[in-house]
């Protein structure tokens, strides 16, 4: 897709990187500031609305950032179109599947 190539990919790579960093720091601070056992803290965050949004945003940023990075690696080292395109398709499929799985985990909780 055009959205994920050229300068846009370059920008998306930077913005997703910053998002990942900010969300990581937020998550660590949030975990440290809450009370209870490790499980209680983690569960409280991951079932709260803002926690679900932030974890979804984290995995989405990781997925986008990972896609651009792995795509660059494949484009640099795999040159045969017969190998390159299926490989990119498999990677994209896995990354999308991870997004769906994470959404199902977080939104399907009681």
């Amino acid at each position: 897709m055009r959205v994920f190539s050229g300068q846009r990919a370059w920008l998306l790579q930077r913005f997703s990187a910053i998002a990942i960093l900010v969300l990581l720091v937020l998550g660590i601070v949030r975990l440290a500031m809450s009370d209870g056992t490790a499980y209680e803290r983690w569960h409280a965050i991951a079932t709260s609305t803002h926690g679900v949004v932030l974890i979804l945003a984290f995995f989405l940023s990781m997925g986008l950032h990972g896609w651009i990075g792995v795509r660059d690696v494949v484009l640099d080292y795999v040159h045969a179109p017969s190998l390159r395109l299926p490989l990119l398709a498999v990677i994209a499929f896995i990354l999308v599947a991870v997004q769906i799985r994470v959404a199902m985990i977080l939104l399907g909780q009681p």
Partner: protein, 135 residues
């Protein structure tokens, strides 16, 4: 091939730059290739991270199982590779962000920050192994 044959011995003495053992990589190049390697490792671990997320939220026992896997299982010490990948990738990535913003791109600073990125990753890996040893 024909041109080489025509040039004879002169062509044979030309240096070949494909021998990886002979190439001296500048420290920036080492930080760069490690940034790639660590990035691929982190991308590969993303599905595992999703599994850990699912398991950790399933039940208190599931959460304990994830903590146990990360700290006391047979592969827990091997996660030093993950600690290295994460820390090196973050340091090398922030280094790139600073360079994009116009800071630290001159050679002396760039070499220093490349060294810091590599060292930070190694320190993180050693700290992981130390923490595992002292657990």
């Amino acid at each position: 091939m024909q041109r080489q044959a025509a040039a004879g011995g002169a062509a044979r003495s030309l240096p070949k730059f494909l021998n990886l053992a002979q190439i001296r990589f500048p420290i920036g190049a080492i930080a760069s290739i490690l940034h790639r390697v660590s990035g691929v490792l982190l991308a590969v671990s993303l599905p595992l991270l999703a599994s850990a997320l699912a398991e950790s939220l399933r039940s208190p026992q599931g959460f304990d199982a994830v903590v146990h896997a990360a700290t006391r299982s047979w592969f827990a010490p091997l996660l030093f590779i993950g600690a290295w990948a994460l820390v090196h990738h973050i340091f090398a990535g922030v280094r790139h962000l600073f360079m994009d913003a116009g800071f630290g791109y001159r050679l002396p600073q760039a070499r220093t920050s490349a060294f810091v990125s590599i060292a930070a990753g190694i320190v993180a890996a050693l700290l992981w192994l130390l923490a595992w040893g002292l657990r």
